[in-house]
Amino acid sequence: MAAGVAAWLPFARAAAIGWMPVANCPMPIAPRDHRKRHDELIILNVSGRRFQTWRTTLDRYPDTLLGSSEKQFFYDEETKEYFFDRDPDSFRSILNFYRTGKLHYPRYECISAYDEELTFFGIIPEIIGDCCYEEYKDRKRENAERLQDDQDDNKDCKLPNMTYRETMWRAFENPHTSTMALVFYYVTGFFIAISVLTNVIETVPCGATPSQKDMPCGERYTIAFFCMDTACVLIFTVEYLMRLFAAPSRYQFMRSVMSIIDVVAIFPYYIGLVMTDNEDVSGAFVTLRVFRVFRIFKFSRHSQGLRILGYTLKSCASELGFLLFSLTMAIIIFATVMFYAEKGSSSTKFTSIPASFWYTIVTMTTLGYGDMVPKTIAGKIFGSICSLSGVLVIALPVPVIVSNFSRIYHQNQRADKRRAQKVQKARLARIRIAQTGSSCTGFLQSKRNDLLNELLELTGSEEEEQQLNKGMSLLESQHHHLLHCLEKTTAHEFVDEQLYEQNCLETTIQSYTSRSPSFSSQDGPIGTCCTRRGKMNSPLPNSSLPLQPSHQQGSLQELSALHIQCGDKLPHTTSRSSLNMKTDDVGLINCKGSHITTAIISIPTAPSDTTDGGAPSINTTASSNVIKVSAL
């Protein structure tokens, strides 16, 4: 039951008088309030600061430290107060929770200290109010991440049971872990640099030999360059294969960007080896050599900055795309205008609209090569408009990227918060289960407890009775009494979902079976009746009774005899509540075993209710009257 409404329980109980004239059964007895009904002030001394509150305020949450009898452990006899050696500042918010029913998280408070206080006082953090919950979760996540980072730093020391493969992978990913890894890192970096340098120098004209004209170095010192290239490619291949071997998930590795770059970097060489010196193909082969420049991207493994840049561009891709689109629009517009403006003049370079594209782009980006200039007046006017607008348009991308970056960053935060919202539903469910939902399941549970209590009173086994009388708070017992009264008023019982489903199933079965009281036709409902009873027996909580299956078998047979005798009365499920209830309990009794006979026991209870005036008393050999074995 939720917090502050505990104060309204007396009202709800008083309002139950409205059901009384309608009810046809006698009502259960109200739980007695053993304590004196005056409210007293409790003094809570938290590290010297005294807080005072009413006892009933604290009793609102019986599953916390302050609301339960656990606080007796902290009671100081001499000063007649409860002393807690905890932080008085945090205690403020905890006590306010009892008062207002809402738990707030103060911003100045450290998250782990607050968590500790909550755990000490037995309050689940999920009930932090919506106003403070986001902040709480954010701080908690930050803290967790920070702890995780610290842990990762500490994890650089080699863990004992790592396989060779795992060691290799770790060496590849974090070069700082061992000397070998560092050496490997530098060697590959060096070779990447060499490879890129080679590619560049290959094309530089090396100076004229007396025999031939100026040619690039690559063609002059073919062998040398070829050896260099081979060496680099060998190193890269070995590196790639080693990474492939060490990768924990080879498929993931092969799909990652870095490995694709690696492959693209070394493939042209192999293709070149394989291809013959064919004139047609060598053109394509030359093109392939362009891909060797991708080796420079291998540096991104060595540089954090490159990686971040790549990520930024990737994340701003849509923004840049839109920018490109608007630029394209502007280019097309201006090119068209310039073309038609310059159409008139002779020997104009603006031969077509696509030809004007070049002019527009050069002008808008304020490059102004000067290879194409407008000659007509209209052309010059539009040309100036074009360059002015170009300045504006080009000035846009930078803030866009910046704002986009910050927007994406915040979006990430919001995505996490949205994920937290989904967790919100789980949180609310958890709270409901912990607080409200437990009232109903608690009620059903206590009904079974009461049932067992009755049974035990019958058999007179005291110890088990004590076990079952769990300390339910007065509030809870009053609430349960209220629900009992409602049950009596309507002559129906609360059951949980499971039983309800089964009952639904049964009624559909029963509606199909014929009404003749033959053995076979009754087997269906009997079977389900008894199985239901059997199932109802199993989830008995706190039960110290061993349910022996053999006894149950015996009881089933007894009960089937019972059912046959009541014949066609069984399919009625409407107002036979007490009839069915009784047979349930009979099953229970039978399972107890030796103490109780398997015949029906007549227990002197309150006079039988009038609705069951029509119900048949089960005329078995043993008993006489309809009995109700329940505490209700």
């Binding site: 309204w8 007396p10 139950a16 309608v22 129906h492």
Partner: protein
């Protein structure tokens, strides 16, 4: 000159309108209600000072503004019946408590209702129950009114009941009720029939005393 006057008067109107609107806003925002003093309430009800104090503290905690409107009332009452839908019955209860029909239950209404329920004589309690059932307050309980009340009560059970709730269970229950209460079989139950019948029924009389020590 005339123009100046016109402008001036317009300004004054505006100012007045502004202050009016400010006051209206104040009124709307501050729906506060302070109950009568303890002494008056003590005289009106059968609770003593301490009991009134406890009741008021609980009341004010849940409704800091001092009045309960119907939605809050329904929320509070529904919390006690998690399996079913208590809003219809809460609506009838609200009408029973809101004796001055102003749409909200103040502390006086609340405490006077409770006084009847917890400290009143059996006659008064039965009176109160009759008032609850008599939805249109015409002095007669018709079958339709009773059916509404009965449905509301059965709604509080929810659907997970044993045995299963049929659709005509409330109607059957109403029939039983009328059979018991309607002595002259005229299709309505009057106050006298109701009180007579209840006083002759042991169960009802006993259950009326059930909650006497709630506060």
């Amino acid at each position: 000159m005339g123009a100046l006057m016109v402008i001036f008067s317009l300004q004054k109107d505006q100012r007045r309108k502004r202050t009016d609107s400010v006051e209206d806003e104040l009124e709307l925002s501050a729906v506060r209600h302070r109950p009568e003093g303890l002494e008056q309430l003590e005289a009106l009800t059968r609770f003593n000072r301490k009991e009134l104090q406890i009741l008021y503290r609980g009341f004010k905690n849940e409704c800091p503004s001092g009045v309960v409107n119907e939605d809050t009332f329904k929320d509070i009452y529904s919390q006690f019946f998690p399996q079913g839908d208590a809003s219809t019955y809460a609506h009838f209860l609200f009408n029973a408590f809101d004796t001055d029909k102003d749409g909200s239950v103040s502390f006086e209404d609340f405490v006077m209702g409770l006084s009847i329920l917890l400290r009143g004589s059996v006659q008064e309690k039965l009176n109160w129950a009759f008032n609850l059932y008599d939805i249109n307050k015409d002095g007669y309980i018709t079958k339709e009114e009773m059916l509404d009340i009965m449905k509301a009560i059965y709604d509080m059970m929810g659907k997970c009941t044993y045995p299963l709730l049929k659709d005509d269970t409330p109607r059957q229950h109403v029939e039983i009720f009328f059979q018991k209460m309607d002595k002259n079989k005229d299709g309505v139950v009057t106050m006298d029939e109701f009180i007579d019948c209840c006083q002759n029924d042991e169960n009802i009389m006993r259950s009326m005393q059930l909650f006497d020590n709630v506060i």
